[in-house]
């Protein structure tokens, strides 16, 4: 294969990195919610969609700097997370895990179909200011300004979040609740507030990821959230769902395997790409059933 030069492989690695950054942001939000209340939230992907659409609205209305838009989209996601938690998930918190999963499916269906009803199913173009599209080349590897922003911003967010959970009171409260919710309550932690904040932060991240997705690929639609949501779920599980670091790792593993399998498989095998990706993931799970960074689940029912 004459195209398999070092430059090509490097470029693919860079592409995988960019895609992985977006997946990680969504996976983190997913795993934050799961680690604290054991909820598999399938509506997470649709929050990405809401973030993308609100970003479109903000860009059109504000003509301002992209950072302002990022901030506003984050706030929108934050608020949506609070609302969804309060309305849909708090009432069923004491129910078995699978009920929460179905609830999230219902919320997802609601958001998607309201989107189709109000916004029509037509995909829309997502255009960003020209300076963000500037191509930056380093040898045979190139990427655009927006790609650089995506990677830098997600790294900053991830590091900030990690420090936040490690060193602030709320962060520690979140980790405590994740480890043992009853003991946390006994220790005086306001578990309701912690859960709400976890939802809010997770959703803010998903919304920002939506803006990134739209900016990178140039196209959004009401149904765009389903697949990234599913992938976030897979990524978080693969990486080890109890830990933010696991989610980030899972996001990058998924991003890389997607890009690399397309890049390295010969054209006539490319149709089998998803099969290869998932076989790899199943193999990872078989070797490490708790995810790559997972630990044995505590046997406390």
């Amino acid at each position: 294969m004459s195209f398999l030069s070092l430059g090509y492989v490097l470029q693919q690695i860079v592409n995988g990195f960019i895609l992985g950054s977006i997946y990680s942001l969504v996976a983190i939000g997913f795993s934050m919610i799961f680690s604290i209340i054991g909820l598999i939230n399938f509506s997470h992907g649709d929050i990405l969609m809401l973030g993308a659409f609100s970003a479109l609205a903000f860009i059109a209305a504000l003509h301002g700097s992209i950072w302002v838009v990022f901030g506003m989209v984050g706030i929108v996601g934050f608020l949506i997370g609070i609302v969804i938690e309060r309305v849909a998930f708090r009432p069923i918190r004491s129910a078995p895990q699978v009920t929460g999963f179905i609830t999230s499916l219902a919320v997802s269906s609601l958001i998607e179909n309201l989107g189709i009803l109000l916004l029509t199913a037509q995909p829309r173009s997502f255009n960003i200011p020209d300076y963000l599209n500037k191509l930056l080349s380093f040898g045979s590897v190139s990427f655009r300004m927006i790609d650089a922003i995506i990677v830098i911003l997600s790294t900053v967010i991830v590091i900030t979040l990690y420090l936040y959970t490690k060193h602030t009171r709320i962060g520690m409260a979140m980790r405590a609740t994740a480890q043992n919710i009853d003991a946390s309550k006994l220790m005086g932690i306001n578990v309701n507030r912690v859960i709400m904040i976890a939802f809010a932060i997770g959703s803010a991240l998903a919304a920002i990821a939506g803006l990134m997705w739209g900016a990178k690929f140039g196209q959004i639609s009401p149904l765009m959230g389903f697949l990234p949501g599913l992938k976030a779920f897979v990524a978080a599980v693969i990486g080890g769902i109890r830990d933010i670091r696991g989610a980030v790792l899972g996001g990058y593993v998924l991003g890389f395997s997607e890009v690399l399998f397309v890049g390295l498989l010969p054209p006539d095998m490319s149709g089998y790409r998803d099969a290869f990706v998932f076989t790899l993931l199943i193999v990872i799970l078989l070797i490490k059933p708790e995810g790559m960074l997972g630990r044995e689940e505590e046997v406390i029912k």
Binding site: F42, A106, L114, V234, I282
Partner: protein, 331 residues
């Protein structure tokens, strides 16, 4: 003991009479809706073996349906058509044309076999890890079907399948499925499965072989899912790789959660979900607000889950014996 036998026999007979009446009185459209309801019941009850009773979160059912659907469709196709449509089909499949019941059973058995093969590695995973693995399995099956164009016709799928499915076939398989699941549950297998659901480690320490007792519900459930897939294929008469995918897996899990963790619950959940979209359709057509069905279903789902998180039937089973005795006393 005698009461149980009589209660069971009477219910089967009543269902038969109802089926006969519906067959002669209802038009094709209503019959089709009812046949789909029956297929949904088979799917939900077969999924309950793993999901409700053994506590395994399996999202792989559509893969077993797909296998059963494609195999049974290929088997009932006349050899001449197969030569044109699926040139790379191996000889033993290309030259044979089987009667419907045989094709269904073989489809179910191949699905069960695939469950056996995939079960060994995958069933040692728990909870959401198992869910991811079963999603992976379903996608792998879908990708294989999509790409093996000369055997499965790829994305175009198979069409012109002979419409063998009618209410009698559905009815028979509903009865067989419910009866089989009921027998399994009330045997030592069932008790082992429930023990695993409650506490795997304790169950293992009691000498229950986890592998064997997790494999059994998966394989059995896969068999009925394969049969249901065959019934589906011969009802819709057209199948494609995307006919059996993740949204269907979700729908089945929704049925189990809404209905509850018993066989009765699975039946209720299947009937409710199956009926709701048909009932809401006139509303959607009248208001022309497309997507309304899904929105109302989602809201209804949320309301039910908030009010009764354990599902409508919870853990309880419909006690046919008590019903029978009660009716007898009335007489």
């Amino acid at each position: 003991m005698r009461d149980r036998f009589l209660a069971g026999t009477y219910s089967v007979l009543i269902l038969a009479v109802v089926s006969y009446t519906m067959n002669s009185m209802l038009n094709d459209y209503h019959l089709t809706v009812i046949e789909f309801l029956g297929i949904y019941v088979i799917l939900a009850v077969s999924l309950s073996l793993t999901n409700s009773f053994t506590g395994l979160f399996s999202l792989g059912h559509p893969a077993f349906m797909a296998i059963g659907a494609y195999i049974s469709a290929i088997l009932t196709f006349p050899p001449m058509r197969k030569a044109i449509m699926m040139p790379a089909l191996p000889h033993f499949l290309a030259n044979v044309q089987l009667p419907f019941y045989l094709a269904l059973i073989i489809g179910g058995m191949v699905a069960a076999l695939s469950a056996f093969v995939i079960g060994f590695p995958v069933l040692r995973l728990r909870g959401h890890y198992l869910a991811v693995a079963t999603i992976g399995f379903m996608i792998i099956v879908q990708v294989l079907i999509t790409n093996m164009n000369s055997i499965t016709r790829g994305p175009l799928g198979i069409n012109g399948i002979y419409p063998y499915t009618n209410i009698w076939w559905v009815y028979i398989w509903v009865v067989v499925t419910i009866y089989t699941v009921w027998r399994v549950l009330n045997s030592k297998f069932g008790r082992a499965m429930l023990a695993i659901r409650e506490d795997e480690i304790a169950a293992e320490s009691l000498g229950i072989s986890l592998t064997y007792f997790k494999l059994l519900p998966l394989v059995l459930g896969a068999f009925f899912a394969g049969v249901a897939g065959g019934l589906w294929a011969h009802l819709v008469t057209a199948i494609t790789p995307s006919s059996f995918s993740l949204p269907l897996a979700f729908l089945l899990v929704v049925m189990l959660v809404i209905g509850g963790k018993s066989i009765t619950g699975a039946v209720i959940g299947a009937l409710l979900i199956g009926v709701v979209s048909e009932l809401l359709r006139p509303l959607e057509m009248a208001t022309q607000m497309y997507g309304l069905t899904q929105i109302v279903t989602a809201i209804g789902l949320l309301v039910i889950l908030i009010k009764r998180p354990g599902g409508i039937a919870g853990n309880k089973e419909l006690d046919l014996v008590a019903l029978y005795r009660g009716l007898r006393i009335l007489r």
